[in-house]
């Protein structure tokens, strides 16, 4: 289980990555993230982030009929969302490289 504090800064970018595959809705995003090993993320954690992405113009929402029940709100990536995702991927790659280098050093120093 990934600690929520660690997840906080990256979840928005990860949601953009999930939506990039195909337009989707809150619960399906949570399911996809769980399938990638993020653990169980409540739909209620994702919804405020989707509102923020929509407010910033990174995603566009559309109500679509669902076979089971009420219309669902599907989110699709906009051009701005693609740019934000690209920026996130760049920043995240920098972060992981830096963390990996630091941890590799730490491991070397700790090994006898």
């Amino acid at each position: 289980m990934i600690p929520s504090q660690l997840l906080k800064g990256t979840l928005e970018g990860c949601i953009l990555a999930v939506i990039r595959k195909k337009p989707t809705y809150g619960y399906e995003i949570a399911q996809q993230l769980a399938a990638y090993g993020f653990g169980r993320i409540a739909e209620g954690t994702i919804y405020p982030l989707l509102l923020r992405l929509e407010k910033n113009g990174a995603v566009q929402a559309q109500l679509r009929p669902s076979e089971l029940g009420p219309q669902r709100k599907y989110y699709a990536l906009t051009e701005r969302g693609r740019e934000e995702l690209a920026a996130f991927m760049g920043s995240y790659a920098e972060l992981t490289q830096a963390v990996n280098r630091l941890l590799a050093d730490t491991r070397k120093e700790e090994s006898p």
Binding site: E43, G44, Y47, L51, R52, K55, L68, G69, Q71
Partner: protein
């Protein structure tokens, strides 16, 4: 009908399909959202989104806590942080619209309470003219106080939506009623007379202006 009222009507109809458990949580959330500085239309949009999430979850056999976690208030605060805030001008217009409609309702109650319908109407028919209605200092004070108390109680109910205890709220309601009764009785000095037609026009104007402002702020 404004688009807010239309959406509100759709949400009311839609929520009948929710179980009492989900309905209770959603009702608490809506009550909490009502006093937030966001437009009523945006409140209804959030209500629609959460209602749909809940209905989906109900069909899957999940609980409200499975969908939004245990801290409902925190969830609402996180949602509200992402909804566009009303500007100062919009808040003033919104408050004015609500106050005018409340004043109109209070005017009707005051009419009935003064026995206007029972006493003055027959007098008007017998005398063939519209009567002057006596207004006391208490009437004026109670009108101001009742608007202030309504606003305060509305805010208190909304902020306490997730607290579960209604005792303090009941004390506040009965306290406000007691103060209003005392003020109405104690300050019985005559302030003047208002023509029946003026009062009637005033009440009608409150409703009309309130509704016009409601349309202007419908976004």
């Amino acid at each position: 009908m404004t688009r807010t009222k239309q959406l509100m009507r759709e949400n009311n109809a839609f929520e009948r399909a929710l179980s009492p458990e989900f309905n209770q949580v959603l009702t608490d959330m809506v009550v909490y959202l009502r006093s937030a500085p966001v437009s009523e239309y945006n409140q209804e949009l959030v209500r629609r989104d959460i209602g749909r999430m809940f209905l989906d979850a109900q069909r899957r056999g999940d609980s409200p806590a499975d969908v939004i976690g245990e801290d409902y208030r925190q969830f609402c605060d996180q949602v509200l942080a992402e909804v566009p805030r009303l500007t100062v001008r919009e808040r003033v217009l919104d408050g004015l619209s609500t106050s005018l409609v409340c004043l109109g309702v209070w005017g009707v109650i005051w009419f009935v309470n003064r026995g206007v319908l029972a006493r003055f109407f027959p007098m008007a028919i017998v005398w063939g003219g519209w009567p002057e209605i006596p207004v006391t200092t208490g009437d004026a004070l109670v009108t101001v106080l009742i608007l202030a108390a309504a606003g305060y109680l509305f805010h208190s109910v909304s902020r306490a939506a997730f607290s579960g205890s209604s005792n303090l709220l009941l004390i506040k309601v009965f306290g406000a009623l007691a103060v209003l009764l005392v003020v109405g009785r104690v300050f019985d000095g005559l302030l003047g007379y208002l023509h029946f037609g003026v009062v009637l026009a005033g009440v009608a104007l409150c409703f009309v202006l309130g509704k016009v402002l409601e349309h202007l702020t419908d976004r």
